[in-house]
Symmetry: C2
Subunit: 242 residues, 2 copies
DNA sequence: GCAAAAGTGTTAGTCTTACACCCATGA
DNA sequence: TCATGGGTGTAAGACTAACACTTTTGC
């Protein structure tokens, strides 16, 4: 019940997270199917406690869904158009959803708070998808990793938030060397390359890619990885931040 | 009085603007000396009306200080640490300042609203400094253009907001070709180059700079500018967006 | 030995930087 | 004619992209 004490949160201000993961040569994000409507998909989000920094709030929101701490996380844009929520076609259905869910908790006052105008701070996160054990929250019917190319219609303006997050990711991916947050501790050069190829939707020449990566001086070469395949065993690498 | 009807604004959410101008080979920003304290300097800022988009709010805040419309404007970061206002050493003095200013308007409730926690959306703006006629607002003792290298201690975390704005400016300056917003309609190649040199705090070779600029195909060459100086008259250029 | 994929080397091309030089202008 | 600063050309260097080739591995 404590969770629905909305007094603890800053009103009109929310955080939505675009959580990127990488699996099977696919870039994915975590989206939630809501219990509050029929086929209502949304980004994982939440509110900011009155004495909680926004970065901490985003970390908490992520922790609540992924059970992971110390996730790579960055704010990328504020979405604050005056009509983004109040004129959303989902908003009326959401009011009904809350009422049907539990009319004793969701009084008119609470529902007004929840469906009023919101300014949303967009964060993107990068996680090793293998380390995540998704945690359904109260209104999550299910949480699902979806290929970034196959995102269904999301609530409100969440599709454009995803677009902006992807743009920001591509802008920072190479410059800030954040891609390693999507990979396990150790990986082969081909695995990094495939990640880059997935993110940028283009191919790279393996020799030039390797040269560029090694010239960055952020990779430590480890032992070889014998997979049983009938080819030369690739080296494993570990990312070492300077 | 209408202005102090704080009910019209979203609580706990503010906008602060770093307004860049360029004059005499110096990059400057507009800062405000507040009537509310002794030597209190701050960024021009304001609040967001309940049914006003954040970009519109920022435009309005800029218009109120500069009397300019259609200013180049971009959000660059949210400042939302939980203690940025409530533990600011300026906050106590501000409370006193409001009381002394007008205790009938600034009731305890109003002062609480004003000095409570705020999440601040940082915007930066680029203006032609010649077109600006600064407009003092209620609490502005004066508005002043100050060289970016000589910014005094500002309230709260405003100095770090300036730093972040400068970083964002430098990051976008060349990539988005926004520098022309700081110049008059027509300008010489040398003037653009000096602007770039000021922003990046380094020199460029004039021939290479010119070649790069012209290769961008965004400059229209106009007639020559005869200044009376005993040297070749430089061409004037106009920026034409594609 | 052979196929598959890892890894390395070299060259061609493009972009950036640096140097040298000529040109227009007014005293 | 000279000093001043505008404008252009070219070559060297750095970085990127493309091609060719060798090495390792298990069947």
């Amino acid at each position: 019940m404590n969770e629905f004490n909305l007094d603890q949160y800053l009103p009109h201000l929310s955080i939505d997270c675009v959580i990127f993961g990488y699996e099977g040569k696919e870039l994915k994000i975590l989206i939630s199917k809501s219990k509050l409507g029929d086929n209502f998909w949304a980004l994982p989000g939440g509110y900011i406690k009155k004495s909680e920094g926004i970065d901490k709030a985003a970390s908490r929101i992520l922790y609540e869904r992924t059970a992971l701490k110390n996730i790579y996380l960055e704010q990328f844009r504020v979405f604050g158009h005056e009509t983004r929520i109040v004129e959303s076609p989902y908003n009326e259905a959401l009011r009904l959803g809350y009422l049907q869910y539990d009319a004793t908790i969701f009084t008119e006052e609470v529902i007004s708070w929840l469906t009023d105008r919101f300014v949303c701070i967009g964060y993107y996160a990068l996680v090793d998808i293998q380390k995540v054990t998704t945690q359904n929250r109260e209104f999550d019917e299910l949480l699902e990793w979806r290929n970034i190319q196959q995102i269904p219609n999301l609530m409100h303006d969440h599709n454009s938030i995803v677009e902006e997050a992807l743009t920001a990711l591509r802008l920072n991916f190479d410059a800030k060397l954040i891609g390693f947050n999507l990979l396990p501790e150790v990986f082969t050069m081909r695995e990094i390359q495939e990640l880059y190829e997935t993110v940028y939707e283009r191919n790279f020449a393996n020799n030039n890619f390797q040269k560029k990566m090694l010239d960055l001086k952020v990779l430590e070469r480890l032992e070889k990885k014998f997979t049983g395949a009938q080819n030369k065993a690739p080296y494993l690498y570990r990312f070492v931040k300077k």
